[in-house]
């Protein structure tokens, strides 16, 4: 595939499905009959108003809107003030993967829960201050492979495509010709076959 498009979620995108699987703290505002099993802490048949539960974003979002919301969503911890302060102080030092695997994407889903606009500000600030780190990473990999592990999903996607382009440029600068390569899926297929065979010998 030669089309290089930026990540933008759509209905079919695997990444967005993974993001919306993330759980957010919710508080039930009204009684919801029969769905007590959503709450592992009780054996009640219904969910009582006032119940506090973490629900996946895909469920929380549609039932928190409309004229009669069933729940209210609270800002997840990573976006609350204490965490925002950490990011404001030194975003580059933070292990963003630990902060939230989908820090930016989930942030975009919850930013409206914060009327002050601070969440959006911190998303932008974090992305913008960590960009240099990302750029440096794409250029000299090999030095410390663990640094990659400190990136969130969106940063990893950018890193991957940036790094691949960088490697192509380096080869171009070094070699007389860019080698033509086997198709990516063919390579994967051969690798898999080799692994399968190795399994066979082990048995």
């Amino acid at each position: 595939m030669s089309l290089s498009q930026s990540y933008k979620p759509n209905y079919f995108s695997i990444e967005d499905i993974l993001v919306t699987q993330e759980r957010v703290p919710c508080k039930f505002l009204i009684n919801v009959p029969k769905l007590g099993k959503l709450n592992p802490a009780t054996e009640d048949l219904d969910i009582k108003p006032g119940t506090i539960l973490e629900l996946p974003m895909w469920l929380a979002e549609p039932i928190s809107s409309g004229r009669q919301p069933l729940i209210s969503i609270d800002l997840p911890r990573s976006y609350k003030e204490t965490h925002r302060e950490i990011l404001k102080a030194d975003a580059v030092a933070v292990d963003l993967h630990k902060f939230g695997i989908n820090f930016y994407e989930l942030g975009l889903y919850v930013k409206h829960l914060d009327p002050t606009g601070e969440v959006l500000k911190v998303l932008l600030h974090t992305f913008q201050s960590r960009f240099r780190l990302l750029m440096d990473l794409t250029e000299n990999v090999g030095s410390d492979p663990t640094v990659q592990n400190r990136l969130d999903m969106l940063e990893r996607m950018l890193f991957k495509s940036g790094h691949a382009a960088r490697m192509r440029l380096d080869t171009w600068l070094r070699k007389s010709d860019l080698p033509m390569e086997a198709a990516a899926m063919v390579v994967n297929h051969k690798k898999r076959k080799r692994i399968d065979l190795e399994d066979l010998f082990k048995k």
Partner: protein, 199 residues
């Protein structure tokens, strides 16, 4: 909770980028069953709702229906995304392997997917034939800008005899090196038979 099987289905694709894991018939069936189940429950409760509006102190099931409905939508989205992304992978395979897939990959397809693959193959072939007035243009070759007319390649497998377009026949043995016209090599490089040697 509901939606969990559907999530597992998507996770499976996420863990195997660039390959096609075996079609998970069982899990797809489970997700479908869950959808049917949720829809049925919603039907039953919405009828109960209608009746309770007529009577008094009935339970309001509308919140329950909304939550389940979100579950139906989620399951549906995962199902469609699962099939869509597999089709996209198959599409790339058509370009990279050609219209005949290796048997171990073929075994991972559902029969509906096998169907789609051959349909895609023929629509692509039809399109490529229609490109120019005389005979069409094969778009699955000429993938890189042409450089030198001749290139050096190393053979990675014992391939056997290979006929060049001028009729001469080469014996391709593992580790043998050849100096060949670039356009005669491209396909074999893509298939992983040759390795392109550059200095």
């Amino acid at each position: 909770m509901f939606g969990d099987s559907a999530y597992t289905l998507i996770k499976e694709l996420d863990r195997n980028p660039g390959t096609l894991p075996p079609y998970n018939n069982e899990l797809v069936g489970e997700v479908k069953k869950e959808i049917c189940h949720l829809v049925q429950q919603n039907h039953a409760d919405s009828m109960a709702n209608d009746e309770s509006i007529l009577g008094e102190n009935g339970t309001n099931y509308f919140p329950t229906i909304r939550a389940r409905h979100a579950g139906v939508q989620r399951n549906l989205r995962c199902l469609l995304a699962y099939h869509y992304n597999r089709v996209k992978c198959l599409r790339t395979m058509r370009w990279e392997f050609g219209s005949i897939l290796p048997p171990d990959i073929k075994a991972n397809l559902s029969s509906i997917e096998t169907n789609w693959f051959s349909k895609y193959s023929s629509m692509l072939a039809k399109y490529m034939r229609s490109i120019s007035e005389d005979g069409g243009l094969n778009l699955t070759v000429d993938l890189n800008p042409p450089k030198a007319l001749y290139i050096e390649v190393k053979c990675l497998v014992d391939y056997g005899q290979y006929e060049l377009s001028d009729g001469s026949v080469l014996l391709l043995k593992e580790n043998s090196r050849h100096f060949l016209p670039r356009n005669e090599c491209e396909d074999l490089i893509r298939q992983g038979v040759f390795q392109h040697i550059v200095t």
